[in-house]
């Protein structure tokens, strides 16, 4: 053989080496790397989600608070659009050619091959017109979905709103939400999102290279149906809620009503509120900004974020602890000369000449500060002067049992917990040199003690129940089988024997139903309502009007807390509002009573919104009454510095008849 024969091997070798190169690369892309496999799925396989209807929200009597209504989105797939009469489409959906170009450009930027929303939320009429001519508009189609509708336009903050998810939420709920999905952002919609949203259905749709659907992957073996969201049965009474919102219109404040035996919240009013329907539909963005920039902060949920010193409303609680402690009994009288001397300090009672010798019942009816200073001093000194810190520590533990100093754990996002001072907190502030005289103002619910309206209402539920409460909650049933978390059925006892409640309740009964009470005008003719007014000083303006109470006295059905900011005396606004609401709830009617000489319509119309001082007003969300107790002055509401608008002049009308108190 010639020597060139060896070149055979070079050529054969070249074949083999290059073939191995091909196999090496094939090994990489087929076996070693997942990238191409995943790309293939991304190419051809797309998940189409079918959105279920969101769960309906009902009131306690199955009346509708929030429901769904159909709406239509016009979708466009830019690469499928053929030239068409753009003007006719613009006319139907009511946009200009300029808008059209912008929207179309936006859709193209988003994706040429995938559908995106061209025009949101078309009305049924527009949809009907459009549907007839749809064949003219290749590449466009209409997608049906549902949006919220609130038939009574009430309970904006209570129900909350839904909006498109943001990136953070998408990451937080690993995998459930996709951009463009909706999620409950506040209120019950947020709290019960997982129940309300239902379950998205999935179709694993195969697409060809021209983005035309080719049917379901594996004949639908991996597809699932959409499951509608669970309905929510709330504890709210729709009529009570509506009346509460009307009564607090044009005022800052809140109302919480609780059914004592169950802890079910009957009314949850935060004013100013907003119409929940404003947070739905095409104008949502604008409305949201408007509400957000409203100086009175309608998004602030006062019932469980509002910070108020309980003031006189704290006194029944104080008395109960003293009775349980045994430092006084129901008959122990204390002389009120009109002032109280602690050490070298003199604390004045609001009643100029003093209340004389009074026991617990009258002290509550008259809201006598001196009585409560006295019993507080006795509680602090019962272990001797040296052990005051220990006595205080024990006392505040008992207060805590009433749900103060922490959240109550309501089924609603964003409940605030305001601090109740422990002995060590005072030690931190005053070092060890403090005694009961230093902190005497907490005896009358001022100073280092703050509560939310929800907590105040809960204290009333405790007194109505004679010694226990069930955690307040807003939902009493999820879905058809009405399941509910067991923590909302447990009774929490506060450690005060039922027998001690009677004298306190007597006092509260007197406060409303006797001529020397502080809320006499608000009494109901055939219902025995027990209550306690409060007038909370406020650095920024007129006093806040507070009323807490329950009714009827025996077998109570409703416990209520009403706070009207800048409303003056407790008897001026808060007590009448509570009275009307109780009447409405217990008799299901309103007899057209006048309270303080004013009709219910006048209360609804009264405007107590503080005058905005400048362009950047501070809403009266947080009320600071610290260290004011010793300087309480009986200031007439009309002499107050702030509220001087015309509305307030009208609004002060009922006050002439209000009984002075505190």
């Amino acid at each position: 053989m010639d020597q060139l024969f060896n070149r055979k091997y070079i050529i054969q070798g070249l074949f083999i080496v290059l073939a191995l190169t091909l196999l090496g690369k094939l090994f990489y892309i087929q076996i070693a790397s997942d990238k191409y496999f995943l790309d293939a799925n991304n190419n051809a396989l797309r998940k189409i989600f079918v959105y279920p209807a969101r769960g309906v929200i009902l009131d306690r009597n199955n009346k509708v608070l929030a429901q769904n209504q159909p709406t239509y989105d016009l979708m466009v797939t830019p690469n499928q659009v053929k030239p068409f009469d753009t003007l006719s489409l613009c006319n139907i959906i009511g946009i200009t050619m300029e808008d059209f170009r912008k929207k179309f450009h936006k859709a193209e930027v988003q994706s040429k091959y995938q559908a995106s929303v061209f025009q949101k939320l078309l009305s049924v009429e527009t949809y009907a017109t459009l549907q007839e001519r749809m064949y003219n508009y290749k590449g466009f189609y209409v997608q049906k979905r549902t949006i919220r509708y609130y038939p009574d336009s009430i309970g904006g903050q209570l129900l909350g709103y839904i909006r498109e998810v943001n990136q953070r939420e998408i990451e937080k709920h690993e995998g459930y939400y996709k951009p463009g999905d909706y999620i409950g952002k506040s209120g019950l919609e947020k709290q019960y999102e997982a129940d309300l949203r239902g379950k998205k259905g999935v179709i694993n749709m195969l697409y060809n290279a021209h983005n035309v659907p080719q049917g379901s992957y594996a004949d639908g073996k991996f597809d699932s149906l959409a499951i509608a969201g669970d309905q929510l049965t709330t504890t709210i009474d729709i009529d009570l809620q509506k009346l509460g919102e009307q009564l607090l219109a044009n005022k800052l404040g809140s109302i919480v009503a609780i059914e004592p035996a169950t802890g079910e919240v009957l009314a949850f009013v935060s004013s100013p509120g907003y119409d929940p329907n404003k947070m739905v539909g095409r104008e949502t963005g604008n409305n949201y900004m408007k509400i957000w920039s409203d100086p009175y902060k309608p998004f602030f949920i006062r019932p469980l974020k509002g910070r108020y010193s309980p003031g006189s409303a704290f006194k029944p609680l104080d008395a109960l602890i003293a009775l349980q402690d045994g430092v006084v009994d129901e008959f122990t009288t204390i002389n009120c000369p009109g002032y109280y001397i602690a050490g070298n300090r003199r604390f004045r009672c609001d009643h100029a000449n003093g209340d004389g010798n009074i026991a617990v019942r009258k002290s509550i009816a008259r809201s006598c500060n001196v009585y409560f200073y006295n019993i507080f001093a006795r509680m602090m000194l019962k272990k001797g002067g040296k052990n005051q810190h220990k006595a205080y520590e024990e006392w505040q533990e008992k207060v805590r049992k009433f749900g103060i100093g922490d959240t109550l754990g309501i089924d609603f996002p964003g409940e605030s917990a305001y601090k109740l001072f422990r002995a060590e907190d005072y030690t931190k502030r005053y070092s060890k040199y403090w005694g009961y005289t230093t902190i005497l103002s907490v005896a009358i619910g001022q100073g280092e003690i703050s509560t939310t309206p929800l907590q105040m209402a809960n204290i009333m539920a405790i007194i109505a129940n004679r010694g226990y409460y069930v955690k307040p909650h807003l939902v009493k049933g999820v879905g058809n089988n009405k399941s509910i978390d067991s923590k909302y059925t447990e009774k929490h006892y506060v450690g005060v024997d039922p027998i001690h409640f009677e004298p306190v309740i007597d006092g509260m009964e007197d406060a409303v139903n006797t001529s020397w009470g502080t809320a006499t005008e608000s009494r109901l003719s055939n219902i025995l309502m027990c209550g306690k007014t409060g007038t909370v000083q406020n650095n920024h303006g007129k006093n806040h009007s507070v009323f807490i109470g329950f009714a009827p006295r025996d077998n109570p059905k409703i416990a209520i807390a009403v706070i009207v900011e800048n409303g003056g005396y407790g008897g001026a606004y808060a007590a009448p509002i509570a009275s009307y609401l109780t009447e409405k709830y217990l008799t299901d009617s309103l007899k057209g009573r006048k309270i303080n000489g004013s009709t219910i319509e006048m209360y609804k119309a009264a405007n107590l919104l503080p005058v905005l001082k400048d362009k950047t007003p501070k809403p009266k969300a947080k009320i600071d009454t610290l260290n004011q107790a010793d300087k309480l002055k009986k200031t007439l509401p009309t002499q107050n510095k702030v509220a001087q608008n015309d509305f307030n002049k009208v609004a002060t009308e009922p006050k002439k008849h209000a009984t002075a108190e505190q």
Partner: protein, 420 residues
């Protein structure tokens, strides 16, 4: 007559024919899958692509058997005439040809379209074999080399006029048979060196490249500082290499078609383009990658079924094999090809006649060039130059021309005991 038939059947290499038939069958199955449309799953139709391909396979077999029945001497004797006819066809296509996809490569004959460039391959192979066997030239001398180059360059030039760069490049594979017959190895090294420089020229700036060449040249000159003759030679090569850089740049920018430039740039990673010319390759790689080890199964490839890979029944048929049959399928196909090619080379070496041997090497190298470039382009390591995968890609012209190429060789081999 009886005796001759026996001899005929004993001497034909049946293993090669079996591999050939296996590749045709694999091709047909995958063409069926590539054009399969789940929406229109209709009965068998001869008008469909797979139906036509079946006709091509059957007629191809008939052509192959007819070739086996011809006298072996025929090919050697008529080689210049066959070459001449294919050259005439290449000229004719420039005049009467139909322009498809930018290439004037097709002569319509009724409903059938003939692609002369496919047939030019065996015409050239025959003439090259005839020249070397008849004149027994010394391929390390200039004149025979020039004659060989002329034989190959004529069809290349004509095909380039269509213009069809892919088919033109196929003719480069003729340098390997010539190498086997004595073409000096350094010529191949110089040639591929030039190709390498051409590619580097696109990657690197001229200044860098020129500096590198000068440094390399200086090192060699220093190494041979005792031998003046070599020093001069190396100096000349260095200067030529630098000159070549500029020519290459000019060729690249002014002679190549824009789409060819883009494809070369894409393959070299100088450009990324997911929608234009790079789209085919990306989709093809995705399809092949999706096959993983054992593939998605016949008619189960979503990339294939839903038409993501363009030209999938012709140039990109390998992506169907990759997706539906996986790495195992690819291994089988490449294995069959390599087995076929090595066998052809072995058969070529056992020939007594130089004509048969040269011809055998020619077809082995042509087939290999197609296989390597075609599969290479579907997995993104070769530029997309649009040449079919032998026996597997859809298309009558290419199937017939490869069949003719192969069966002529089988006929020559069956006659190896005789004299041509």
């Amino acid at each position: 007559m009886q005796q001759q038939n026996n001899r005929f059947f004993f001497n034909v290499d049946w293993v090669t024919i079996l591999i050939y038939m296996a590749l045709c069958a694999i091709g047909w199955v995958n063409i069926y899958a590539a054009i399969y449309n789940p929406d229109k799953a209709e009965g068998f139709s001869l008008m469909a692509v797979y139906g036509k391909q079946l006709l091509f396979i059957i007629t191809g077999l008939i052509i192959g058997l007819s070739i086996l029945l011809l006298d072996a001497k025929f090919f050697s004797i008529f080689a210049p005439i066959v070459y001449g006819i294919t050259m005439v066809l290449l000229l004719a296509v420039l005049v009467v040809g139909r322009n498809v996809g930018g290439n004037q490569a097709w002569i319509p004959i009724g409903s059938f379209r003939l692609q002369p460039s496919e047939f030019a391959k065996f015409g050239t192979a025959l003439l090259l074999a005839r020249y070397i066997s008849s004149f027994n030239p010394k391929l390390n001398t200039l004149k025979p080399i020039l004659i060989c180059i002329a034989i190959v360059a004529l069809p290349m030039a004509l095909i380039m006029l269509q213009p069809d760069a892919g088919s033109t490049l196929v003719f480069l594979s003729f340098m390997f048979p010539l190498y086997r017959e004595g073409l000096p190895g350094y010529l191949l090294i110089i040639f591929w060196g030039m190709v390498l420089l051409f590619i580097l020229n696109l990657y690197l700036s001229p200044a860098t490249l020129i500096t590198a060449i000068i440094i390399l040249g200086a090192l060699f000159i220093y190494n041979y500082r005792k031998k003046q003759q070599k020093m001069i030679g190396i100096g000349m090569i260095t200067i030529l290499a630098i000159g070549y850089l500029f020519v290459a740049k000019y060729l690249f920018n002014n002679v190549l078609q824009p789409h060819q430039r883009t494809r070369i740039e894409l393959i070299l990673g100088l450009k990324t383009d997911n929608r234009g010319a790079g789209y085919n390759v990306i989709q093809s790689k995705i399809a092949i990658g999706a096959g993983q080890v054992t593939g998605r199964g016949f008619l189960q490839g979503t990339q294939t079924k839903y038409g993501y890979v363009p030209e999938q029944s012709t140039d990109f048929i390998f992506s169907t094999i990759g997706e539906e049959w996986g790495f195992v399928g690819c291994l089988v196909v490449i294995g069959l090809y390599i087995f076929l090619l090595l066998r052809i080379v072995n058969i070529a070496e056992r020939q007594r006649s130089v004509f048969s041997r040269v011809y055998g090497y020619c077809i082995a190298c042509i087939l290999f060039f197609h296989v390597f470039i075609n599969i290479g382009m579907t997995i993104g390591i070769m530029p997309v130059i649009g040449i079919p995968l032998p026996f597997i890609s859809y298309g009558g012209s290419s199937l017939w021309s490869f069949t003719i190429l192969l069966f002529i060789f089988l006929k020559l081999d069956s006659n190896r005991m005789g004299f041509i």
